[in-house]
């Protein structure tokens, strides 16, 4: 139910609103084209900002009937903002008012609205409100009459219009004569000035400004003046600037732009030398009267001057004109005011008794020349003057070269122009610079110039000559010079002094009777950072130090005085270390560096203005310091050598024991009796020496001596001596032919020979043996089924016994005595001679000896080497057995066994035995 009632009330409200709207509209239409339901009084008011304002909204009676509207329903709005209802007042049923105490809160439009049915807002009427201010009184009215041409003047009056009125405000400049009002002047586009073109002089004019707008009008103060008193005239036009007879005056003439009947003028005249910017002015009192020309005095001869002038009313009323256009003129010539600065250069290279004197002088300044210099006259007088008459020269240039004998001369130079000559410049050329020189010479830049300062000598100086030149590596020092008065103790160099260049400055004092030596200093007009930094290198790099070297910067690169060098070095990851170095040094040693480290170093050259860095140089410190390697290597080498020496000595002392362990005696299989079984003897070897040693037929008659073991001792030593000699020879030859003999204990073959000599060992024999593996009886008492003969792979030469048979096909056995050997004769007279020692050395290793013995026993080959020499019985037994075995197998051959060299009494001296070897021609020896 509630919902239905709300819906019905809302619909009724809408219907009422539509009804009111239609009513208002129909009313408006029926009453005319536009007829509102009310209106506001006042209509479109113009209000002063800040004032009070009250508006009335009056409803039409006809509206009241249709809309049931009451004035209390009126709402006032400024634009879209509702005016607070406190400002409303319902006067009666149809009138509502609104009051604003301060119109500055107002805006346009102000509308009167009504709330129909309490909710629908309907606009009744609206007005546009204009807000503004009345004009203020114009202030500071002033006028000026500008001369536009000879007969045309324009008066411009300006004033301060005051505050903004926010309204259209008209300003009007009014003027009048005492009995006549002149036309008003209305500004165009501005509100603070106006121009009057018809200006009449000599009549007082009253001028004022009137400002007027919708809210009121204001009038400035009235000012009275004669327009002729506020004139700013046009400047005069200079006609001529002419020189007169006097070289110090110029006459200026001009034309005034204002006629004298209008006003008389006074003038200001200014002038300057053409190449100067400083104006000088003629005293105003000299030009305070009306005129059209003026003669300016006290000017410099032969100088170009520029003139300008201005004017104003003579009585001082009004304004100065602008300065006129400039006009220039040149004063007349006069004699040069001073002589040219004079100096000399002396070459004494030709001969010791004469000089080449270059006299040089400077051109006079324009202010000193007073005209065009036509020539110079030079006079040279020798001192004493009586010795020679003075020599005179007239030159057009500024130098003169003279060849003079050594001595003192007075030189004078005068400059001449069209008017006359200058005072002479005098220079004394003494025989020697023996006078006092200046002291404490300094040079420094000041005010953009290079100043030189010195302390005068004690004697009075006539003048100083300052020489300077730019020091450069690429060019010679071209000397420039200047003169200064003898009273001065400082000056600046008057020349083209360039910044960043080094100047060598020398000061000479000149006396009336001589000249002092020059004192020099160096200076820069302006310093800068060096053009580049020094290129640093390492001269030597150690473990913890590095010697750096660099070339000093060239003068042209320095751009200033090098105050110090900075060496910057660092490791790749480390901090940079800086060291300042005196600029006179070219080498520096960096110390406390880390070993085996990469360093980066660069160098900066610093002037007073900053430093410039040179290229980066890298170097690596050494891992070891000087002598460290030597300290390590030398002791190590010494220790190594010592140990080797000790080892050699040890080996030497223990050679027998060593030989026993690492170089046991190896039985020579070729000397075994089984060699006789060999079907052929190798034919590879051809030792001619054997032929020579055993010539054919040397063994033509072989006898076999059977020696019983017991009979060994029956040989006298005399009988055996020849054989011992032969044995010695044989051992020596074997040492030469074989490189194996002395392999034990690092002994050389020669050593083995010497060893053999000493010990008569069988090493040489064994070294020449072709080693073979002879498996006769199996290992460890195992009996092999097949006898195996295996040729050694060794390329060592065979023993004589192996080589001999083929080498000596027709040769018989050599009868050369040998200590112990078997001798074999063949039917073809082939003789294979082999000397085998039966060594009876005790140091033969028992296992080897046992095996050999076992094998040999089985082969019925006696091995004497395994038998000690002292055991004669044991020795003889194998020999007997060998003879028994060999006898049936060697057909027609007589095996003769001779046992020789058994003359050893001690163990060491027991000769080594060789196994008997039988060689057959054309085949291997059976082993």
């Amino acid at each position: 139910m509630g919902t239905v009632s709300k819906m019905s009330s809302r619909w009724s409200w809408v219907m009422n609103a539509v009804y009111i709207f239609v009513s208002i509209c129909s009313l408006g239409v029926s009453g005319g084209l536009v007829q509102s339901c009310g209106y506001i009084i006042p209509e479109s008011p113009l209000l002063t900002l800040g004032s009070n304002f009250t508006a009335l909204c009056i409803l039409n009676e006809s509206c009241l009937d249709f809309g049931n509207i009451h004035a209390s329903q009126i709402i006032w709005k400024i634009k879209s903002s509702v005016v607070p209802k406190e400002q409303y007042r319902v006067i009666n049923r149809t009138v509502s008012s609104v009051t604003f105490r301060d119109t500055s809160t107002l805006a346009t439009p102000l509308t009167c609205n009504v709330l129909a049915d309490g909710q629908i807002e309907q606009n009744i009427y609206g007005i546009a409100v204009t807000l503004g201010l009345p004009p203020e009184k114009p202030e500071n009215l002033s006028c000026i009459v500008r001369q536009m041409s000879k007969n045309k003047f324009i008066m411009t009056c300006t004033w301060n219009p005051g505050r903004d009125t926010f309204l259209a405000t008209d300003f009007c400049l009014k003027s009048q004569w005492p009995l006549e009002t002149l036309p008003d002047c209305k500004p165009k586009g501005v509100n603070n000035s106006c121009e009057i073109s018809n200006v009449q002089f000599f009549v007082n004019l009253e001028v004022w400004v009137e400002a007027k707008n919708a809210l009121g009008k204001a009038e400035s103060e009235h000012i009275n003046f004669d327009p002729v008193d506020i004139v700013k005239p046009l400047p005069p036009r200079i006609l001529t600037v002419s020189s007169g007879e006097l070289p110090t005056v110029l006459k200026l003439s001009w034309e005034n732009q204002i006629i004298v009947v209008e006003m008389e003028l006074k003038f200001n005249i200014r002038y300057r030398i053409s190449d100067s910017t400083d104006w000088m002015e003629v005293p105003p009192e000299d030009t305070a009267s009306h005129r059209t020309s003026f003669t300016v005095q006290s000017l410099k001869p032969y100088t170009k001057y520029v003139f300008s002038l201005r004017c104003m009313k003579k009585d001082g009323l009004g304004y100065w004109s602008d300065w006129s256009k400039e006009k220039s003129g040149v004063t007349s010539e006069a004699k040069p005011s001073k002589g040219p600065p004079l100096w000399r250069k002396i070459d004494i290279s030709h001969s010791p008794n004469s000089w080449t004197v270059h006299l040089i002088w400077k051109e006079l300044d324009r202010s000193e020349a007073n005209g065009i210099i036509l020539r110079y006259e030079v006079t040279v007088r020798a001192r004493p003057s009586l010795s020679r008459p003075p020599e005179k020269y007239s030159v057009n240039s500024t130098h003169l070269t003279l060849n003079l004998t050594n001595g003192t001369y007075d030189v004078t130079v005068t400059a001449h122009n069209r008017i006359g000559g200058s005072p002479p410049s005098v220079l004394l050329i003494p025989a020697s610079n023996s006078k006092a020189s200046v002291k404490d010479i300094k040079a420094y830049p000041k005010d953009g110039k290079l100043w030189v300062e010195w302390t005068a000598p004690d004697n009075s100086v006539v003048k100083y000559v300052i020489e300077w030149c730019m020091v450069s590596d690429s060019s010679d020092c071209t000397t420039e010079w200047q003169q200064e008065l003898g009273t001065s103790q400082s000056t600046f160099l008057k020349g083209d002094i360039k910044p960043f260049k080094c100047y060598l400055i020398t000061v000479y004092p000149l006396y009336t009777n001589g000249q002092g030596n020059g004192q020099s200093t160096k200076a820069y007009l302006q310093q800068s950072m060096p053009e580049k930094g020094p290129t640093v290198q390492t001269k030597k790099v150690g473990k913890a130090e590095a010697v750096l070297v660099w070339k000093p910067l060239a003068v042209d690169e320095q751009n200033g005085f090098i105050r110090y060098y900075t060496i910057l070095y660092r490791t790749i990851s480390g901090n940079e270390t800086a060291v300042n170095v005196d600029p006179s040094k070219t080498e520096y040693t960096l110390s406390s560096l880390s070993s085996d480290t990469l360093y980066m170093v660069k160098m900066e050259a610093h002037t007073d203005e900053g430093g410039t860095s040179g290229p980066v140089f890298t170097f690596t410190t050494q891992k070891f310091g000087k002598g460290e390697i030597e300290a390590i290597v030398v002791p190590v080498c010494l220790a190594f050598l010592l140990s080797i020496l000790l080892g050699v000595l040890f080996c030497f002392n223990k050679r027998d024991l060593i030989k026993k362990h690492i170089w046991p005696n190896v039985p020579d299989p070729s000397k075994s009796n089984i060699a006789q079984w060999s079907p052929q003897t190798p034919t590879k070897h051809n030792f001619s020496s054997k032929d020579q040693m055993y010539p054919e037929g040397s063994f033509t008659d072989v006898s076999v001596v059977e020696i019983e073991a017991d009979d060994k001792k029956s040989f006298s030593e005399q009988d055996l001596k020849p054989f011992n000699l032969l044995k010695k020879e044989k051992n020596t030859s074997e040492g030469h032919s074989s490189g194996i003999g002395g392999s034990s204990c690092m002994s050389s073959p020669r050593q083995s020979v010497s060893d053999s000599d000493e010990s008569e060992s069988a090493q040489n024999t064994s070294s020449t043996v072709q080693y073979s593996t002879v498996v006769l009886n199996g290992y460890r008492d195992q009996i092999p089924s097949v006898q195996v003969f295996s040729r050694s792979e060794s390329t060592q030469p065979l023993l004589d016994s192996e080589e001999k048979p083929e080498d000596n096909p027709g040769g018989g056995e050599s009868a050369t005595p040998r200590q112990q050997y078997f001798k074999q004769n063949s039917s073809q007279d082939e003789t294979s001679t082999d000397g085998s020692h039966f060594e009876r050395a005790k140091q033969v290793t028992p296992p080897i000896n046992e095996e050999d013995l076992v094998g040999l026993t089985q082969l019925q080959i006696s091995d004497h080497s395994s038998q000690p020499c002292g055991s004669g019985q044991e020795k003889n037994k194998p020999e007997s057995a060998l003879a028994d075995v060999l006898s049936p197998s060697t057909e027609g051959q007589i095996l003769r066994l001779e046992t020789m060299g058994i003359n050893t009494a001690t163990v060491d001296e027991i000769p080594k035995s060789y196994m008997p070897q039988t060689v057959r021609q054309g085949g291997y020896m059976p082993q």
């Binding site: 009449q200 009549v203 009947v261």
Partner: protein, 151 residues
């Protein structure tokens, strides 16, 4: 430095002096400007350059010719009358030139207008001087109608 000296004088004397000074200067300026205007006028009108201005119809003759027995006031009155006449004639010339002879020559018209104003100003100054001398009514009332009323 005449201004301070004049400042010490009585106001009437100072005003008199100023008026005299202005009148003299203005008269000189009028003379200069009229001479220039006459040249332009003769040139434009094609008149003979030897035209005599000693006797122009309607312009009184110089007062000095009438003898030294005349008072300053009388002489000033005669001058005033002459300038009034000049003012009238210049007005006529201006009208004639502007409407008939040289309607487009505005510079010429401006020159005539400038002199016309100066003559009017001089006439006013003469009136003031006469008033100061006679301490009575301005003399122009007796001299005839004001030029402004004529122009």
């Amino acid at each position: 430095m005449w201004v301070p000296a004049l400042a010490e004088q009585p106001p009437v004397t100072l005003q008199h002096h100023n008026l005299c000074s202005h009148a003299i200067l203005l008269a000189g300026k009028i003379r200069s400007n009229v001479a220039s205007l006459l040249e332009s006028y003769v040139e434009r009108q094609g008149l003979d350059r030897t035209i005599s201005l000693d006797s122009v119809e309607g312009v009184p003759g110089p007062a000095m010719e009438q003898g030294g027995e005349l008072t300053v006031a009388v002489r000033l009155g005669a001058n005033l009358q002459a300038y009034r006449a000049l003012q009238t004639l210049l007005g006529e010339v201006l009208e004639e030139q502007g409407f008939h002879l040289t309607p487009l020559d505005m510079d010429f018209h401006a020159s005539i207008q400038s002199i016309l104003l100066q003559v009017a100003a001089l006439a006013y100054q003469l009136e003031e001087l006469l008033a100061l001398l006679s301490h009575g009514r301005p003399a122009w009332e007796a001299a005839g109608p004001r030029p402004s009323q004529l122009v």
